[in-house]
């Protein structure tokens, strides 16, 4: 009967199956949709008259072998528009405008009676579209074999890409033409990472940043990834066509769906000015409004921590003993022999608390506080850690008291080593333990392959897990900073306690000689499109050989480390170096102490992916501005136009710049600090060294 209704609807709607066009509010973007003669949904996107996405297919394959990407008829189409302003709990802007036009196309596949809606939203700076599976009679629970969405590009664009991989986003970014990906990808994939699961075919990850030969900047990603696998992009490097490649589970199933659900939004952000990409709020706007009733407990966090010492090669260890035969729940650690190198001991943590209190930091991260680090072998072992039992030399009660007296929080650490099934078993107790001991933030970690062993980091099961952690944390008023989780898609709007993520190659790779000077000029165009990153900048001592056998040197100057606090947006910012190094450079450290972590406004002053980024931001609720400018391996002159400053007022600018000899290879610590008066007419011209940067703080006089 339902099938008949559908067919009748299809027939009734036959006259409607014309091509549909949607135009962005300012008219710059236009989206065309039609059904092909075979009933295949097809869309295309133009920007200022230029094709961005050529005619591209849409739809699904459903297991075991249903073609839900053709034979459709259009039964309805509805248009609407929105223009509203909302305020995030934290972010780059106090006010975010959501101005878009919407078109929702209702489709029916008469051969099955199945229904599918496609909803398009067109903003001035980009497109979002998603699929919707309405509740219907003949389709209910089904398994996705693949999403067939294409993004058909117009040429051999320059791409900033990571290899397609189901388990990690920690590859270095490669910059090449699309036609060069195939010849480069095998070499990139030799990168030693804790876990790698290559896509079987040629594919890259999102957010994918592209630049066309005629100067279009195009960013492809997704928004609101909920109960669905993350999307990789197959690359047809002859047709320059990208197509969705959903992360499967290890049995090959892509997604387990129930009707009455929607997919994430597929996003295409586009401009002829690279700065517009960084300024875009399309991804946040496509996410649902905040679902937490009370957000008063969510706040930006600037922190230090027992962390970098584990990477420097100086011998500090997460583990408390040398006994690798420990078994959580059986081993009595009070009877174990300490190894003498355990970093997270009470006395040492107190030093960090003292430093944090003295310099106005909110919190101290402590890794290695809990039982299990001796034998945290990824994958083979399921019960790795206790999340409620501290090591004998970590006095959780005393440290809570000591920190609270000094107005400092301790940040909890939940490294799971990807034994997620066991973490989920302990999770409620773990968060209760945190609430009982005054913690309001947790850093989670997912190093290594996932247990359950059917799952990948970026598959639907894990996507649900990460959000489950965030929701559980919210019940305990805990903020979450997830590392090695699926890359973000703007969900921090909906769950603003998801305060930051890693999900890319962070500063820790500097200790493995792993980051190139252009790395942080790319990340804002790729990883950061989905949300803030806990990049952990602020390393002043860039030559790790001072500590011991580690010969790594940072790929940046010290001044660039300061600039990252502005260019790498995050409400959670670490001063990652050993505190003793900050004590050696108190003048440079002053910038880290001063810089804000939450903003009223953001001004993208200069930007070219892979080359340079210069950003200014106004501190939230204060007449203070901070500027960060960075460059790649090439020196350049940054032009910092201060016209964003209020008219008719004078300001004091403190400029933390590369010194004359500064160079990331030879003189990274050559910096110079100067002061000058500025106003809205000032344009600072600031030389950046190779691998260098500049940081500026501006306060009202």
């Amino acid at each position: 009967m339902k099938r008949l209704v559908c067919m009748l609807l299809c027939l009734a709607a036959f006259g409607m199956a014309e091509a549909q066009r949607l135009t962005s509010p300012d008219g710059g973007l236009s989206l065309d949709f039609h059904l092909s003669p075979d009933g295949v949904p097809v869309y295309s996107l133009r920007y200022k008259g230029k094709t961005v996405i050529g005619e591209s297919r849409m739809g699904f394959r459903i297991a075991p072998d249903y073609e839900f990407d053709r034979g459709f008829e259009q039964t309805d189409v509805r248009f609407s528009e929105t223009d509203s302003v909302w305020q995030p709990v934290w972010g780059q802007y106090r006010d975010i405008r959501d101005r878009h036009k919407e078109m929702c196309v209702a489709l029916c596949q008469p051969s099955t009676g199945w229904l599918l809606n496609i909803r398009f939203r067109l903003f001035d700076d980009g497109l979002g579209f998603r699929y919707e599976f309405p509740v219907q009679k003949d389709l209910r629970n089904f398994t996705l074999k693949e999403e067939m969405t294409e993004f058909r590009l117009t040429g051999d664009h320059k791409a900033f890409w990571l290899p397609g991989d189901y388990d990690t986003n920690e590859y270095p970014t490669t910059t090449s033409r699309l036609s060069e990906v195939a010849s480069l990808i095998d070499s990139v994939r030799t990168e030693p990472l804790a876990v790698r699961s290559f896509t079987p075919n040629l594919a890259v990850q999102t957010p994918l940043m592209l630049k066309s030969s005629d100067g279009l900047y195009i960013n492809v990603h997704e928004a609101a990834l909920v109960d669905y696998p993350a999307m990789q992009l197959n690359l047809d490097d002859k047709a320059f066509c990208l197509s969705a490649h959903l992360t499967p589970d290890k049995n090959g199933a892509k997604g387990f769906m129930q009707t009455g659900s929607v997919t994430p939004w597929r996003t295409v952000i586009v401009s002829d000015d690279a700065r517009d990409i960084l300024a875009s709020n399309v991804i946040l706007n496509l996410n649902e409004p905040c679902k937490l009733e009370d957000t008063s407990w969510i706040h930006p966090v600037k922190y230090v921590g027992v962390w970098w010492e584990y990477f420097t090669g100086q011998g500090s260890t997460w583990a408390y003993t040398a006994n690798q035969d420990i078994k959580i729940g059986e081993t009595d650690y009070s009877k174990e022999i300490p190894n003498g190198t355990h970093g997270a001991n009470t006395a040492h943590v107190k030093e960090y608390i003292d430093f944090a209190a003295k310099h106005g930091f909110d919190a101290v991260l402590v890794e290695g506080w809990n039982e299990g680090w001796e034998a945290n072998f990824a994958y083979v072992k399921e019960r790795i850690y206790s999340f409620t039992k501290p090591y004998p030399d970590f006095d959780v009660e005393e440290l809570h008291r000591y920190a609270a007296e000094r107005g400092v929080k301790i940040i909890m650490h939940h490294e799971t080593t990807s034994s997620v099934s066991d973490y989920e078993r302990q999770m409620e107790d773990a968060f209760r333990f945190m609430a009982d001991h005054g913690y309001d933030a947790v850093k989670t970690g997912y190093v290594g392959p996932i247990i359950p062993r059917s799952e990948h980091h970026d598959g639907q099961w894990m996507v649900n897990h990460y959000l489950r952690v965030v929701k559980t944390a919210a019940r305990y008023k805990v903020m979450v900073n997830s590392h090695e989780a699926v890359r973000p898609t703007g969900l921090c709007r909906t769950y603003p306690n998801w305060i930051a993520q890693e999900s890319a190659r962070g500063t820790e790779f500097e200790s493995f000689k792993g980051n190139r000077p252009d790395h942080t000029t790319i990340l804002p165009f790729t990883r950061l499109m989905g949300g803030p990153m806990d990049y952990t900048p602020g390393i002043f001592e860039g030559d790790l050989s001072v500590y011991g056998s580690n010969k790594a040197r940072l790929s940046t100057t010290l001044a660039k480390q300061l600039a990252l606090y502005v260019t790498m947006h995050s409400p959670l910012q670490m001063a990652a170096d050993l505190y003793t190094n900050y004590e050696k450079y108190p003048d440079a450290f002053q910038f880290i102490k001063d810089v804000a972590t939450d903003w009223d406004d953001t001004y993208i002053l200069e930007a070219e992916p892979g080359d340079y980024v210069t950003i200014a931001r106004k501190a939230k609720g204060k007449n203070e501005w901070y500027v960060g400018g960075i460059t790649d391996e090439n020196a350049r002159e940054a032009e910092i136009d201060l016209s964003f400053l209020p008219e008719g007022k004078r300001f004091q600018a403190t400029i933390y710049a590369d010194g004359k000899k500064a160079d990331w290879r030879t003189a990274p610590k050559d910096y110079v600090i100067s002061s000058r008066k500025v106003d809205g007419k000032t344009v600072l011209k600031q030389r950046l060294a190779p691998g260098g940067g500049v940081a500026v703080s501006i306060k009202e006089l």
Copy 2:
């Protein structure tokens, strides 16, 4: 260094690498062990001079490709013996004697430095041996590729077998020669079951019952299956050699091990008298003593329940609505339209409570009480049920009050539909909910394929899950009756709140026309070797066509249904039929009301697997005895020798026998009840109809 020590030990021990022999306390069994010239561990077993197990290999393959089954040298061997008596919390015997001799062989593989111990225990009625992985320097966490244990039989024995399968024990048992398995197995595997995962090669399950041409009864199973996959048995039907085939995960990994651990015991129970197999306590004796400090809350349970009506075809449903689009956590059931057929409604459950109270039953099982049954699609859906939210028409508070007033418990039901990851998330809340509402027993269910989707019912991950449930339940003083879980291995000794399991083809298959008349004459020799079964006997109305369209008829007479309460040991026994049927046959029902569920002693009077079983038992702490005798499709005369009765006393026996016309096919309800005085010299000769049985209650005069 350790490797050197090992080698030195090996050299020092060179003279010891002679064959070792262990003899059972009564001398009837002898076990030989030696290392082959290639250093392969080899054992063999003889019974009264006859070979039971010929020379059979032992050891492991370790991933990715280590041969840990050869190249061994013997470094030590130790002998010991035990003779002690222990008392189970419940069971077939008040006192159980554990009398065995033990030999532990320490092996070293000089090429790797790895150590392995093999511990043998020889009882008068059987052998147990297990592998032990001591804590050592060069082996710590490893993945089992296979266990190489062989059981080399002496000929083409008659076997009572289930096809090797990683996910179900619900096949009917096939009786054939080993050489016939290959030609029969494909047909058996067509059995429609909720989930089937065939072994890729020819294999059968344990407990495997065998009978040799020269009259030896041999049972192969395992004891104390903890943190290890269940063992299937590969069948080489030319050499008549069985070999271990551990249940893998879906990636092919067999077990994730850490040294400082042991495998389950491999058991071979053997006798020339079939009755000795049923009387054996080898498997219980090989399990660890009770680990629960307080067992006062554990008690036998005789129960009725809202259950059989779901199978009869009369239209009662687990589901509350017809809406299959429900989503747990989103759907507001109070707004759903009831389907009018929901079984677990308050009024109907009260009828069962009234019946239970009137007839002295301990408890009422209620299935279908909780949200989610409308759309419990196995596998595609992970969040299927709430385990804390009752349907709107199931008033949990009122029923708790109503039942408690009448001295009756309600048995909780946790059907997971094998969405185990979600069950584990809810488990703590679920058991707290039970404790808060007066439940002290739960029936768990695992219908369909497992989520996490890497796992099988019988793999290591699930083995750990089942025990996790039992341990969690114990914290809440809850007894567990697990259905569709891995078959038991005597763990009810260690965790006596694991009061019963299904793990075989139970009475529910009678409603699918699925059980043959010989079924329950085999189960005591196979499934029940590991522990009690919730077989749910007591169906008086064996013709389901009386309810509607279901044409199934039971494969037993009514008298045999009574006898099963004695022959199928379980401290948890259901009177499974609709209570209205018991009201029609109050005289026969009296036996179910009377029969004990816990025992001081057990007397196996007659037994031949596949043909007949006659068992008498003394009720725990009472001078009451109950006898059950059953036969297969052939009529026979049971000889019930009452010499177990105390001397010099007289007793009243009530005999529930097949009537003269009784036959499972034509007159299943023809029964006759008689009374007579008996004493220890009485031998009852009782005719059993085809598919029939006899039940006797004996009370002191």
